[in-house]
Symmetry: C2
């Protein structure tokens, strides 16, 4: 199934912020109390995270939830 | 179960934009192709919508998804 554009953009933004922090997917998953395969699926746009998970990811990355969904230039 | 703050804020924002447009919950649900009870649950913070649904709501309201999650002043 093709990945919807908004999921791909969300995943790319999460990955960008994670890499900026120098964290592996495993580091990030541990900090967010999520499974590493789930984080990988999010970054590839294969998962459809809920509002609760979006806020958890944003809190772990120390950005606003809106920042994860922001349109990129 | 108490409603998480981020869900309550999201629901309030959705409701605010819906009312601004002069739409009933039923109007809005029809436009978004969702069930009216689901829309009601979202507005009361009882539902935990996915990224796909957040984008569908935003598209129906003609705002960005980030706008639905923005911190309010």
């Amino acid at each position: 199934m093709p990945v919807p554009t908004h999921r791909a953009a969300f995943g790319a933004r999460v990955r960008e912020l994670r890499v900026e922090r120098g964290w592996s997917q495993e580091d990030f998953a541990h900090r967010a109390d999520l499974d590493r395969t789930y984080v990988s699926g999010i970054e590839r746009g294969r998962r459809n995270p809920t509002l609760d998970i979006i806020y958890r990811l944003a809190g772990t990355l120390d950005v606003s939830a809106a920042d994860l969904l922001a349109e990129r230039a």
